[in-house]
């Protein structure tokens, strides 16, 4: 009996150990599959965290112009500091504005780039609203190293926030062949006002049937050019108060605009492609605009030698108006996120100081920078065959120095939206003083 008992016990322990073995096996199998899934889940997160300061991100638009310039700068900087990884991301300008607004409004720096390109007209809007989010670069660069008119948009309270980039210096691009048909030469356009310009246009239209200018009813760029040439702007010097009702320059500009219409020398376009098409198809005899149009004009190689660039006409009857103005142009801003120091260093060593880089940008891409020291280089004094051997860069550089500095403020585009509507009223016969005072009233009620 006793023996049987012990035998049974022995069997029991044997069974137990077998059961244990099986359980162990199952648990291990389960663990195995668990750990497997964990592993795969983990792999996604690695990689992005390492060395944040060694990696900077830049947002910009226009692959042919700004992005291309960045790629050059990246190459240059790689020789100086090869450890830093520079990510260049292209977005449409409107996307950048939207993303910046979203990011800055939410108060988090997450998702924002280290460096961002901002158009000069909008720069103050961002700087004044989100001053703390941008890095003061006063220690890295000197505002005085760049064209004076750039200091308005890029600085705030005496601190330099932006690295001025491309120039928006304007010129009057003209078809010399059409001019010649109408009996004019490029030299006849050197010192004219807009009235004289319209007179020439009438002749050209008569002789060639071509329009003098092409205009977009929704873009008052030409008005902006005109008033800045007279040192005036939509806003007063403080950048906040609307300056429309008693703005003499603006009034004169509106009148010139109406005259362009009334004299029937204007072509109309509604978008960028139509604008460029009008130039390339030879539909218009002239284009007063920023120098960045050069690339688009040169795209039509068959017109080589048929273009010339004259200084911008002045506002008739306005003493302050000069033969130089600005349209467009943008600057780089360093944001207060991780890696700001690296980003500032990147900017200071490339766009902030590198003369050779600017030479390269000019020859390879056609970027006219605003860095004063680079304006003396060889590339700047080269003759341009497309423009009949004219030393266009030298000319632009000369005009750049004349551009009157204005404070674009933070409401340029808001006011322009009002003016676009009022311009239609004006063209339809509304009194100019009424037009401007109505605009003033609207602006004052909208902008506070």
């Amino acid at each position: 009996m006793l023996k049987k008992e012990t035998y049974k016990k022995g069997m029991k322990t044997l069974k137990k150990s077998f059961a244990l073995l099986l359980i162990c096996m199952m648990i291990l199998t389960a663990c195995g599959s668990n750990s497997g899934s964990k592993n795969t889940a983990d792999t996604g997160n690695t990689g992005s965290k390492s060395n944040e300061a060694k990696e900077i991100t830049i947002w910009a638009w226009d692959p042919a112009f700004n992005i291309a310039a960045l790629e050059e700068a990246k190459k240059t900087y790689a020789a100086i500091n090869p450890d830093v990884k520079v990510n260049i991301i292209e977005y449409a300008q409107s996307d950048i504005i939207q993303k910046l607004n979203t990011g800055l409004n939410s108060g988090t720096t997450k998702g924002l780039p280290n460096i961002v390109l901002i158009e000069d007209y909008r720069a103050q809007g961002f700087l004044q609203s989100y001053k703390d989010s941008f890095t003061d670069l006063s220690n890295s660069i000197k505002g005085t190293d760049f064209a004076d008119y750039k200091s308005g948009p890029t600085s705030l309270d005496g601190k330099q926030y932006g690295i001025p980039f491309d120039s928006g210096v304007t010129g009057l691009y003209v078809r010399t062949d059409y001019l010649e048909q109408a009996g004019y030469k490029l030299s006849d356009l050197q010192n004219i006002d807009w009235k004289q310009y319209i007179e020439i246009g009438k002749k050209v239209k008569e002789k060639t049937g071509k329009a003098l200018i092409t205009l977009d009813p929704n873009d008052l760029g030409i008005i902006r050019m005109m008033i800045q040439s007279a040192g005036s702007w939509y806003l007063t010097e403080d950048g906040k108060t609307p300056n429309l009702a008693n703005n003499e320059a603006l009034k004169q500009a509106f009148e010139v605009y109406k005259e362009l219409m009334d004299s029937n020398v204007a072509n109309v376009h509604a978008d960028w492609s139509q604008f460029v098409a009008a130039l390339n198809n030879g539909d218009v005899a002239s284009v007063p605009t920023g120098n960045w149009i050069t690339a688009s004009i040169k795209a039509e190689a068959t017109q080589s030698g048929k273009w010339g660039i004259a200084p911008l006409p002045t506002l008739p009857g306005n003493d302050k108006s000069v033969h130089a103005s600005n349209l467009g142009g943008s600057s780089w801003y360093v944001m207060n996120v991780d890696g700001a120091d690296t980003a500032a260093d990147f900017m200071a060593k490339t766009f902030g100081s590198d003369v050779e880089l600017y030479q390269k940008l000019l020859t390879d891409i056609g970027v006219i920078g605003t860095f004063k020291a680079a304006a003396s280089g060889e590339a700047y004094s080269q003759a341009n065959d497309f423009f009949g051997g004219q030393k266009v860069v030298t000319d632009f550089a000369a005009w750049t120095e004349q551009i009157p500095s204005v404070n674009y403020g933070i409401h340029t585009y808001a006011i322009e939206d009002i003016l676009i509507v009022e311009m239609q009223n004006f063209l339809n016969g509304k009194e100019i003083d009424k037009v401007l005072s109505d605009a003033q009233a609207q602006a004052e009620s909208q902008i506070k």
Binding site: L28, S37, T40, P217, V268, A270, D271, A277
Partner: protein, 590 residues
């Protein structure tokens, strides 16, 4: 080789157990992990397809709401007189054109707000050559190119339909081949049926992806196919613009047969395909789930296999050790037991091993004990039986002997030799006294000698003294003990059979000590026998003449029984020369 086989024979139990265990463990491990993997795969696939079909519905809703916005924008455009006049009027003076452009753009901005939620560009193009686009980035071709493009031709061919077409920029030399989806509709005068222009909504394929991008993940891809099987949008950019007729066929199958999903091979990959039809677009949404990737995230087969094999190996080692330990004692036991035939019952085994085998060993040893005991007792019993037999025989004093002896005494008394008669009776008494006492007792050589002398005396009285008997006793042997009546049968034998032919002779009785044993010799010079060493033929022995029942035949057996094999009787006999009988006995002092 044979030795090895022989060796293996003892391990056959172990080998069998081990093989069975190995096979079953491996089978269990393989089947368990296989089933687990299969089941989880199946479950995963089921849930995946269920959730994915739900997500597809959501995607569909996204597409539908986008389509709704486009339809609204289209209607607004068609209803707008401003846009119609912009697209139909002829060029006039700057101011009027300018106003027309301005009004149109204002109108277009309003229409654009219908699709503001999406990154959509709108383009209108009129029969008068005017055009407008809200976002220049969308269609990278000139008006002239667009006018002659397949997109426009298709639109014009079916003026009542809003159609979605795929366009991939190929003219740009740069790598960024922008793919766009173009929704187009011809602008038609309702009353007359004249088309006065066309309307295009362009959405970048990347923006199009946002309708479904939330659902895609590694191994879970989405492709949008048009009715020609062209992939117009996919999160896998390399698929973009590719023809996938097989996929289209699968999508149609799923749609027509109402399948939940379908398993197919696409681009050398096993995939699960889910599909739905977007009627307003005439597109198919196809969801491709790469089994390998999707399952790879879920079940790490390699890991499972690795762990299983590790467990199997551990289990095998454990099983090997345990079963070896179990069978080892059995093997030893078997080996020891197998030797039992070679030796005797004293081959006890060493008790080792597990409890069971210890018990078995104990039982076996116990059995041997019992067996030995039994055998011993059997031998003892036989001895006793033999002794009893001898005693019985010994006590059978032949009545003839008594009769003859008493007759002889009677004659002696009649003859008057009273002296001799007394002597004879005296010898008889002494003889009977010894013979009748306990047969197992031993007596000294002196006493035995006395018996012999008495017997010889009686014989001489009866048959005369023609056979003389001489005793030669070594003095150092007289105190040793011998079994009773051990020599007497041989003298008797010599008396009655040794001298049948010869009339007279002698019998010598010699007792001496030789190499540790007592040697008694009975030597006669009588007739002798033919067969030297053979059993004495005593069959015709006359019972009447014997003193007791103990014949010489029994003597040898009796000695062996008492003292062992090395003792006993040997006979040397030669015809006409006599017989020598040697009785070897141990030296017994008490």
């Amino acid at each position: 080789m044979r030795a090895i086989m022989e060796r293996f024979k003892f391990y056959s139990l172990f080998i069998k157990i081990f093989i069975v265990m190995v096979v079953s463990i491996i089978a269990v491990a393989i089947s368990a992990s296989w089933t687990t993997v299969r089941m989880s795969e199946k479950l995963f696939m089921e849930t995946f397809s269920i959730t994915n079909s739900k997500v597809i519905n959501q995607i569909k809703a996204n597409f539908e709401s986008f389509h709704y916005s486009i339809v609204t924008a289209t209607n607004n455009t068609q209803l707008s007189g401003t846009i119609k006049s912009f697209l139909t009027e002829e060029d006039s003076d700057s101011t009027r054109v300018f106003r027309s452009f301005y009004n149109m753009t204002t109108q277009m901005k309003r229409i654009q707000s219908n699709v503001d939620a999406y990154q959509v560009g709108i383009k209108i193009m009129g029969q008068n050559g005017r055009s407008y686009s809200t976002n220049t980035n969308n269609l990278l071709m000139t008006d002239e190119e667009l006018r002659n493009h397949k997109i426009t031709i298709n639109t014009m061919a079916d003026p009542k339909r809003l159609m979605y077409q795929f366009y991939q920029e190929k003219s740009t030399p740069t790598s960024s081949q922008e793919a766009v989806i173009v929704a187009s509709k011809s602008l038609m005068e309702r009353t007359t049926g004249d088309t006065y222009g066309s309307l295009y909504f362009t959405i970048h394929e990347k923006a199009f992806q946002s309708f479904y991008s939330s659902m895609v993940s590694g191994g879970n891809d989405v492709a949008i196919l048009n009715k020609d099987g062209l992939i117009v949008s996919s999160n896998q950019s390399e698929l973009l613009g590719q023809k996938a007729d097989d996929l289209l066929q699968d999508a149609k199958d799923i749609q027509e047969k109402g399948l939940d999903y379908k398993n197919v091979t696409f681009r050398d990959k096993d995939v699960i395909v889910l599909a739905d039809y977007l009627s307003s677009y005439d597109f198919y949404i196809v969801n491709l789930i790469d089994k390998k990737t999707a399952l790879g995230q879920m079940v790490d087969t390699k890991m499972v296999a690795l762990i299983c094999s590790a467990i199997v190996i551990v289990a095998l080692i454990v099983v090997f050790l345990i079963s070896r330990k179990l069978t080892r004692s059995l093997t030893l036991l078997t080996r020891q037991m197998s030797k039992i035939t070679e030796r005797n019952f004293h081959n006890y085994i060493t008790v080792t091993g597990s409890f069971e085998f210890q018990e078995l060993g104990h039982a076996y040893n116990y059995m041997l004990d019992e067996l030995n005991d039994y055998v011993e007792r059997l031998v003892q019993t036989q001895k006793e039986q033999r002794n009893a037999e001898l005693a019985a025989l010994q006590q059978q004093i032949n009545p003839h002997f008594l009769y003859n002896t008493l007759s002889s005494v009677k004659f002696l008394v009649q003859q008057g030799s009273k002296e001799k008669a007394v002597h004879t009776i005296h010898a008889l008494i002494s003889l009977l006294q010894n013979a009748l006492s306990n047969v197992s007792e031993t007596i000294t050589v002196t006493q035995e000698l006395e018996n012999l002398k008495s017997y010889v005396f009686i014989n001489h009285v009866r048959y005369g003294e023609r056979i003389r008997v001489n005793f030669f006793i070594a003095p150092d042997t007289i105190d040793y003990h011998v079994p009773k009546l051990i020599i007497q049968p041989f003298i008797e034998n010599a008396f009655f059979h040794g001298f049948n032919k010869k009339s007279e002779g002698y019998i010598h009785v010699l007792i001496s000590q030789e190499s540790g044993s007592l040697l008694c010799e009975v030597v006669d010079n009588g007739d002798g026998m033919e067969s030297g060493g053979a059993e004495l033929s005593l069959s015709n022995e006359s019972k009447r003449q014997l003193f007791t029942g103990i014949g010489i035949k029994n003597v040898h057996d009796r000695i062996i029984l008492l003292y062992g094999d090395e003792y006993g009787v040997t006979i040397i006999s030669k015809v006409n020369e006599g017989t020598t009988i040697k009785i070897r006995l141990p030296l017994i002092n008490t």
